[in-house]
């Protein structure tokens, strides 16, 4: 039959024992998938091996695909150029606070918008969606002016400076919701049956209790998506730390990578750069290894409305 290849979407896998045309199709699919996997994975393999190759081997031509020798020398060299362990810690602190803020603020707002009836609800939700359409670059300069002025005034949080050169400008916005995350959670909350909260109301539960005891536990998958995406965005954020943090010991690992580039073009620093890049990549890759199903679900949830 000539149409075999066209209906591949619904055909269950039956091993390689189909007719010859089907077998050719499967072999070519595997071949292409293998090529794509190779192209996508090779840079990571190259990074992971190069970080441990001695400098002499890094400059060998042809490049060695399988490292012959192993060294940890590049890491101390990278630490001389920038305080990477400290930067990792800074990044982790910033990410944790940001994720906490995003989880609390977005789920509360989404619960109210999806489930409570109150005046101006639609208007508020509409306003939030408008923010998605304005590029963040417009608030770059005024944002810096704002946080500089906050740092100068007594308008600080319980006596703690939250202006520029602190993590304030990086983490406080997370507590003020992000339209995308709120939207995602609202969509999910809309699908939770009304009976659940009505029963809880009849039993005398407050709305906060309904949110805390019913909606949050039920929405774990979407909450995980929001936490992971916020973590990722915060970890890889370049512009924020770049302008709001100045001292190397307060900087994040993402900006730290650019520190290493500055005066370190010399031969011995090739391995150091690989090792720094590896340090910046490992935490997120590890997280991804354990949570990838949430990531992929999140894209589908957010991508298709």
């Amino acid at each position: 039959m000539a149409v075999t290849a066209a209906t591949t979407t619904s055909r269950p896998f039956r091993g390689l024992a189909g007719n010859s045309r089907e077998r050719i199709r499967q072999m070519s699919v595997y071949l292409l998938m293998g090529m794509v996997t190779l192209i996508l994975a090779f840079p990571f393999y190259y990074l992971a091996t190069s970080a441990f190759k001695p400098t002499a081997e890094l400059f060998e031509y042809p490049p060695t695909l399988f490292p012959r020798s192993f060294t940890l020398d590049h890491f101390p060299l990278a630490f001389q150029a920038a305080p990477f362990p400290r930067m990792l810690l800074n990044t982790l602190v910033i990410c944790s606070i940001t994720v906490t803020g995003a989880a609390i603020s977005n789920s509360l707002a989404a619960f109210a918008i999806a489930r409570l009836r109150f005046p101006f609800r639609t208007l508020i939700f509409g306003c939030m969606l408008i923010t998605l359409m304005i590029p963040g670059w417009i608030s770059l300069v005024p944002g810096y002016v704002f946080w500089r002025d906050v740092g100068r005034t007594t308008l600080n949080l319980f006596g703690v400076n939250i202006g520029v050169n602190t993590i304030g400008p990086l983490v406080i916005p997370a507590f003020l919701t992000s339209a995308y995350s709120t939207f995602l959670m609202r969509q999910y909350f809309m699908t939770i049956p009304k009976e659940l909260e009505e029963a809880a109301r009849i039993d005398g539960a407050s709305y906060f209790r309904i949110y805390w005891r019913i909606f949050l536990p039920l929405s774990f998958p979407v909450l995980a998506v929001i936490c992971l995406f916020t973590f990722m965005a915060s970890w890889n954020d370049l512009l924020g730390p770049l302008i709001y943090l100045s001292k190397p010991e307060n900087q994040t690992i993402t900006v730290g990578l650019s520190y290493l580039n500055t005066q370190h073009m010399g031969v011995i620093y090739r391995g150091a750069r690989f090792s720094a890049a590896l340090m910046a990549a490992i935490p997120v890759l590890t997280l991804y290894a354990f949570t990838n199903k949430y990531f992929i679900r999140g894209i589908v949830l957010g991508g298709l409305k």
Partner: protein, 317 residues
Amino acid sequence: MTTSTAATPVRPRRDGRLGWWRSPNRREEVLTGWLFVLPAVLGFVLFMYLNFRGVQLSFTDWSWISRKPPEFVGLNNYALILRPDSDFFKGLVRTLIYVMFVPVSISIAFSIALLANQAVKGQTFFRVVCYLPAITGAGVLVIVWTYLFSVDGPVNFVLRGVGIDPPRWTTVTEWKQVALLLLIAWGAAPGMIISLAGLQAIPKDYYDAAKVDGAGSWRTLINITIPLMTPTLFFQLVLGVIGAWQTFDIIYFWATPGTGLQDANLWTASVQIYQYAFAQNRPGLGAAAAIVLGLVILVFTTLNFIAQRRWVTYDIA
């Protein structure tokens, strides 16, 4: 939270004749609602305030170091940055390369999605691998890319192996640009997740009908899959173009001073905004450039929505 509901036998009225504040139950609902959206409202107010300040500051001239307050200069900043020989204007034109590359990225994502939609084993693993580029930060990728494409790197080794004399990826501006576009093409793979969700939303009936009519796989792709995928492709195009205009991270790591391969001929519009605002200490100019970029994005998004009528199929029947 505020009052107990047990004491009120009156059910809340939905017709609006009785104000919400009269019923303790409704009062609790409204007050809780306002409390919960308060952070969102604060965030919106701050966001709008910053944007209005952004417009205001774009008409002023000042510097971060001087104590002098911003001085109103009218449209002067705009006149400076919109001259065809200004750094920002050149940056905008350069950014157009990345905008025009968006269809290529979408095609890559779509092709990979077609592959991932085939009924063979190992698809879950394949998806996990395809999403990898999206997890990794630009800083990491640029470091790896610099050495993948270095004179003695693996890419050149492969090219020499197939008999091609490799170009100078890390020294000649045009070739640096090509290497960057290759990085973007490589990074387009995660888009397959959205394409795949679109593919899987196509009803099986269409394929069954095509099969009955004797259509081959190529005809099915052209006449069924692609037309039904156009709404998804359009969604990816709109978001892709908006993102492409704001290309920043990879150019910052690849080409700004002190970051390895510095090359001002690669700077995009947003890198130039950053340069004006902070490196060159002309925040007024930076603010104006950001407004122009915002307007350019608005124009392109509008054009996309106008053009969609010609190619997006919402109803195949």
